[in-house]
């Protein structure tokens, strides 16, 4: 939870929708509401980022203040009386949501995150229909060519609701800080800044894309991600460098369709370009599918029995002819502990040689 920074921690008493609740200084109204299972709608809020206060969905009323305030950016104070669910707020949120929707297309069925979209959830909750939108006949801005993209990330300005999560994520999570708002009014877009004096440049880590609530930032590979409700999520460890980042494989059918961040791990949910985008080798057409034996210079596909008997025959023959030390095994820093254990057990305990190593040195 990202809370506002304070010097001391004090207990604070406030009233939330008529109920007395206890909070700690530094918490925002939204924090306290979530702790007490009181629903306040949000779009720009992410518990991985500092509060942004851009979407205006989380408005609440505080007795004694003239205007509603954004609950994600307002710290609690002693004796505060907060209302989160009034007819006025409902109206404001509804109208606000329609304004947000003037930028966002109504084509959910063909969207990758259909069923797992925070905006869609709110549209459903507030029951906003096409007819509702006729009141806002704003011609969508023409953004022309995709204004910003990397070979790994594509930006769709027509879907973007300008919440600013990606801008924050680029600074706060990725520690890169190259994204910014560009333009004014309905022409506003998210863009990469020119390389500045700090020489910062986009590293395509994809934190922006992972933080986007509406799929305006997507993977540039153009592959469908599978329906959210048919997707299985499997938490595992990245296969690349030694950092050991936790990540979630999203599986649809027997295919890994994308990688999403976990909440914890040594990486605190952050990922690099390889971890996030380097998964498509898994389902690559070049994967080996059958054991093969080379005969007269040609590969012959065989079944496991034939292949393993052949290997066993050859290894046994070499051992019997020249001793166990004429055999050696290169294990792998890419394989699991269990496999490395078995590999050395095989060479030591069955074949009888210590000629076992792996590629630690390279």
């Amino acid at each position: 939870m990202v809370t506002l920074r304070t010097k001391e921690l004090r207990r604070i008493h406030l009233t939330l929708d008529g109920k007395p609740v206890l909070a700690r200084s530094g918490q925002t109204i939204l924090d306290v509401a979530r702790e007490n299972d009181v629903y306040i709608p949000t779009l720009c809020y992410s518990d991985k980022l500092r509060p942004l206060g851009t979407c205006r969905m989380c408005l609440v009323e505080i007795e004694g203040t003239a205007m509603p305030v954004t609950s994600c950016t307002t710290p609690v104070s002693e004796g505060m009386v907060v209302h989160t669910d009034t007819a006025n707020l409902d109206n404001l949120r509804r109208e606000n949501l329609k304004l947000i929707l003037t930028r966002h297309p109504y084509n959910c069925p063909s969207c990758d995150i259909n069923g797992a979209c925070e905006l869609q959830d709110l549209v459903y909750r507030y029951d906003i229909s096409h007819q509702d939108m006729h009141a806002y006949q704003i011609k969508p801005a023409d953004f022309g060519e995709t204004p910003w993209a990397t070979p790994l990330i594509t930006y769709h300005p027509r879907r973007c609701i300008l919440c600013g999560r990606c801008v924050s994520a680029c600074t706060e999570i990725a520690e890169v800080g190259v994204l910014a708002y560009k333009g004014r009014g309905s022409d506003t877009i998210i863009a990469s800044t020119e390389p500045n004096e700090f020489g910062r440049e986009c590293i395509s880590c994809g934190e922006c894309l992972a933080s986007c609530p509406v799929d305006a930032l997507v993977e540039a590979n153009g592959q469908p991600k599978g329906k959210a409700w048919e997707t299985k999520k499997v938490k595992t460890i990245c296969t690349y460098c030694g950092t050991g980042c936790e990540l979630i494989l999203n599986v649809s059918g027997n295919k890994v369709t994308h990688v999403s961040p976990s909440r914890g791990g040594v990486n605190q949910g952050a990922l690099c370009a390889k971890g996030r985008f380097g998964y498509d080798f898994i389902n690559h057409k070049d994967r080996l599918r059958s054991p093969m034996i080379r005969r007269d210079g040609y590969w012959e596909e065989v079944n496991w029995d034939v292949a393993l008997d052949y290997v066993a025959d050859k290894f046994a023959a070499i051992k019997q002819r020249e001793g166990a030390d004429a055999l050696a095994g290169l294990s792998s820093a890419r394989c699991t502990n269990e496999e490395n254990y078995l590999f050395q057990k095989l060479f030591r305990g069955v074949l009888g040689t210590n000629n076992v190593d792996h590629c630690a040195r390279l």
Partner: protein, 577 residues
């Protein structure tokens, strides 16, 4: 890791990744962290930008972290022992060392003092090119910090003096009392997801699981009993991977089984490695792709990728973490452990080796009929003391850092906190020796190799990832503009890089990242197999090849030759950079 083991008694990262954000000074050397370990690089940036940590970068290349560094020293490649000795010299001279710590927890201090006496900053400047004043500043900053962490990677170890380099860093860290404290330590960043685990599990020629020595008869006896196969375990230290190539060429090694590695691409002096694998009597390669090495095999066995099997990886900070099966492997492919267990049973039959019936019963682990990966893990954990308290059930709550000797032990984030694994920390008196090959008139440039953030190792996986391959489609040779000008080379031009062992053609990128007199290439691309150039001179102890320093010359490819190359260039696609 032999250097760390000699100094401390354990060759693993002493502290945790998270502590990077809770220290005062970070010294990074021989690690291009933001490219090789981007998520650790991110921690370093956070430490500097949000926690006011001071960063010292010591690297011949102007890597990205230099932008965040308070002090950047640019030594000549292969001068590590000299500049580390120089820092120690300054610290001793100015009385900045941790006297109590040294007295209570270390031995060999006199030897150290004697060895570094001649390494005055001025002499170090002459050897390494680091200005004496700057070296002194860095030494003071490191020594005076309450907490300071050293991070290093292959830029330290891939030298013919790699073991000495690590011992020298260990000297520095112990002298300043920075080992065994939170936010301190000496931390090798491991390059591959499970190097740490492969070492822990005994995939090394000299140690059984848990770093128990194969030369210790008591250890052998206990494993012999546990495995119950009746095979007499060998007490002779086996061959290191880097010796295997030579043994094949000499005819003493006849059968080789390679699981999930691609040495034809990753070995130093790769053309010799290729010749060896072509010559060998019988080669089995078990992999997920038909890698450059698999293409030379007699038998290829299809394995499952990390997404298709259960198991555990142990990361660079000794954290054992669960890998979970998400999908089924393609075709007939099987998890590596299933293949190994199956093969073992077939071999046992032919070699008349005992195969006790049930796995994991009593003390006997001779059976190879494992029900799942967990059964194997439990067996390994019984035999490797540091893993004894870890189980799949516990790992569901998150990773555990070894040593974890018992069921309720929380794991160990910081090593050597009360005492060193070997008892007292040992100082070594070290002398600097130049790299095995230095630039000369014929080969005037240093060549160093490394990674870029979009690709991994020999590229077997990342080169097959569309997006990653689009963002970084080819291997470029990096050269300083100052050096490029006299050769008449501009960015994008094709050059030939030649060493005593081979030659490689690639396009160049002019960049200040490369120091004058130094070129850089990556080993990710089979089109530009940079390891055909590198030197296979080995560190005598760790058997690591000197991949980071060799001498090369750079030639511009002439226009006429280029015309002949056109079709090949067209095939490589549009340049995105």
């Amino acid at each position: 890791m032999a250097g760390l083991a000699a100094s401390f008694g354990s060759g693993a990262m002493t502290n945790t990744i998270a502590e990077i954000e809770n220290t005062d000074v970070i010294l990074v050397t021989g690690s291009n962290t933001t490219e090789g370990h981007p998520i650790i690089g991110r921690r370093i940036k956070r430490a500097v930008e949000r926690r006011n940590a001071k960063l010292i970068v010591i690297d011949p290349r102007k890597i990205e972290l230099v932008k965040f560094a308070h002090i950047w020293l640019r030594p000549l490649p292969g001068t590590e022992v000299a500049w580390i000795n120089g820092m120690i010299h300054v610290i001793l001279n100015e009385g900045l060392w941790a006297k109590d710590y040294v007295a209570k927890r270390t031995e060999g201090f006199e030897e150290l003092c004697e060895a570094v006496a001649s390494y005055t900053p001025e002499r170090v400047e002459a050897i390494s090119g680091i200005p004496a004043q700057e070296l002194t500043r860095a030494a003071r900053l490191y020594a005076e910090a309450p907490k300071a962490m050293i991070l290093y990677a292959m830029g330290i170890t891939q030298h013919s003096s790699g073991t000495d380099n690590v011992k020298a860093l260990a000297n520095l860290a112990m002298l300043c009392g920075k080992v065994g404290i939170e936010g301190g330590g000496l931390n090798p960043l491991r390059g591959q997801n499970n190097v740490q685990g492969a070492c822990d599990m005994g995939a090394l020629p000299n140690t059984l699981p848990g770093y128990q020595k194969v030369t210790d008869e008591n250890v052998l006896a206990s494993f012999q009993q546990a495995w119950g196969t009746g095979v007499r375990l060998s007490n002779r230290v086996g061959m290191a991977s880097t010796d295997m190539t030579k043994a094949i060429l000499q005819g003493t090694l006849r059968g080789l089984y390679i699981m999930g590695e691609n040495p034809v691409m990753s070995d130093a002096n790769a053309s010799e490695a290729r010749k060896a694998f072509e010559d060998i009597e019988f080669l089995v390669v078990q992999d997920i792709f038909l890698s450059e090495t698999a293409q030379l095999a007699d038998v290829v066995l299809p394995a499952a990728s990390f997404a298709e099997k259960d198991g555990t990886f142990t990361n660079t900070e000794r954290r054992v973490q669960r890998v979970r099966k998400a999908i089924e492997p393609p075709g007939q492919a099987r998890a590596d452990w299933e293949i190994l267990a199956d093969l073992a049973q077939r071999l046992a039959m032919r070699l008349q080796v005992n195969m006790p019936a049930a796995a994991g019963t009593g003390q006997s682990f001779g059976s190879w009929s494992y029900h799942d990966a967990e059964a194997i893990f439990n067996e390994a954990a019984r035999l490797a003391p540091a893993y004894a308290g870890i189980s799949y059930e516990r790992l569901e709550q998150g990773g555990i850092q070894w040593p974890c000797p018992s069921k309720y032990h929380p794991g160990t984030p910081i090593l050597h906190s009360q005492r060193f694994a070997r008892g007292l920390g040992k100082f070594f008196g070290l002398e600097w020796n130049p790299p095995a090959e230095m630039p000369d008139e014929e080969y005037p440039f240093y060549l160093s190799t490394g990674r870029i953030r979009y690709h991994y190792h020999t590229g077997t996986m990342t080169r097959r990832s569309k997006g990653l391959n689009r963002i970084a489609p080819e291997g470029r040779i990096e050269i300083n503009p100052q050096d490029a000008q006299p050769l008449g080379i501009v960015t994008g031009e094709r050059v030939r890089v030649i060493s005593r062992r081979g030659s490689v053609e690639a396009r160049v990128r002019l960049t200040e990242r490369s120091a004058p007199g130094m070129v850089f290439g990556t080993f990710h691309f089979s089109e530009t197999p940079i390891n055909q150039l590198t030197n296979d001179a080995l560190d005598p102890v760790a058997k690591i090849p000197e991949l980071k320093v060799c001498a090369v010359r750079v030639e511009k490819i002439k226009r006429a030759e280029l015309a002949a190359l056109q079709p090949a260039i067209a095939e490589m696609g549009v340049d995105a950079c």
